[in-house]
Symmetry: C2
Subunit: 199 residues, 2 copies
DNA sequence: TTATAAGCTCGAACACGTTCGACTTTCAGG
DNA sequence: CCTGAAAGTCGAACGTGTTCGAGCTTATAA
């Protein structure tokens, strides 16, 4: 019965995770202490460190869950006949509204995702799926003759992702304050990218 | 002699600032404690809080100084006849190498600049100068007939700044690991923006 | 000049993330 | 079964950012 230890371990891990999710949602990352989490999970605070080596790590795990949820909603849209610009704006605005829904959560998450404390190998599969989805979108556009053929679709994804980042930066630094402004800005940037600016 | 208090206050403030700069350079933000700073400045650690309300605030101040230095170096380049792409890459790579010179410093700074804890009005003049500089660059390009006329130069600046952000994100998430890769990626993205991708 | 208000300073204490060390439970081999 | 090793648990303690409160210094005005 080697499994007893492992089963308990799995249970405890889950209890911590659940407690964290509950408290992060109720309060926030910053206002939730390790002790709160431990109490909620019914264990001592030191024990938490047997499962996660840092408070941030718990948060990252929590984010991964949240992102999976958000990502699931992106799966539906497919090679439709709406134009590329609209589809791109939809794609990124969905993510934008999700991330900025709770300003503090988004800020913490973005800091950790874009400028992580350490290179986070675990985040890469997620990025991968995300960029795959984007590439697929461009692939459709290529077939629909909306973009010129032979483009590097990966770099195209990076390009639009960067513009999305720019909008997020504008949001968090206070230059954009409403969803409408954000969408308008995004549209403007995306159009520049599609049309090009060189003479 | 109303000035006595104020003069002392100014001195103490400067002492804290100097101490912080010295220690942040010698060690790092994280490894420097408030107590270290206080000791170096010859005051009690509580006193620091009469001048800065948080450790981050001291860091922000320090960053502003650093950024001013970096910015000064950008002033020189002017309406030359080198092509726009090269000038843009030069402009942003200078900033990139500066920021990433010390990985930890850059990370901390970017987190605070791009996703600040609170909207930081003090940062705006700096941004302003920065974007002014970029706009000037595009203005030259417009005169040199390198870009099509009538573009929104501000949004053009935002566009390229966003791409720069994308490169930084790639750096900190581990997708780009050498300066050469970063420059190559930047060049590729910039070219896309200039040439456009629509059919 | 002196009384009072306002501002400044710092030792002590608090909060919270994290580590240490000792105790308990589980597991594997004889 | 036993027994010794490994893994898990937690109270106590540490480090550091931040606040409290009491005492001291400076400014003001009668």
């Amino acid at each position: 019965m080697t499994g007893l230890r492992e089963k308990r371990k799995e249970q405890t891990r889950q209890a911590i995770q659940d407690a964290a999710v509950k408290l992060f949602n109720a309060k926030s990352f910053e206002k939730t202490s390790i002790e709160d989490i431990a109490k909620q999970a019914g264990i001592g605070k030191t024990t938490v460190y047997g499962y996660f080596s840092t408070k941030e790590e718990i948060f990252i795990n929590y984010c991964d869950d949240k992102l999976d949820q958000a990502f699931a909603r992106l799966q539906t849209n497919d090679c439709t006949d709406t134009n590329l610009l609209d589809r791109l704006v939809d794609f990124f605005m969905l993510k934008f509204t999700f991330v900025t829904q709770n300003r503090e959560f988004g800020r913490q998450l973005l800091r950790e995702m874009i400028f992580p404390s350490a290179v986070n190998e675990k985040a890469k599969p997620h990025d991968q799926r995300y960029f795959d989805r984007l590439e697929k979108l461009f692939h459709c556009a290529e077939e629909n003759l909306e973009i010129s053929p032979g483009q590097d679709l990966f770099y195209l994804s990076v390009h639009f992702f960067s513009l999305y980042l720019g909008i997020l930066a504008g949001w968090y630094t206070g230059y954009l304050t409403s969803l409408e402004e954000a969408e308008e800005g995004m549209r403007k940037l995306f159009r520049q990218a599609l049309e090009g600016v060189a003479a």
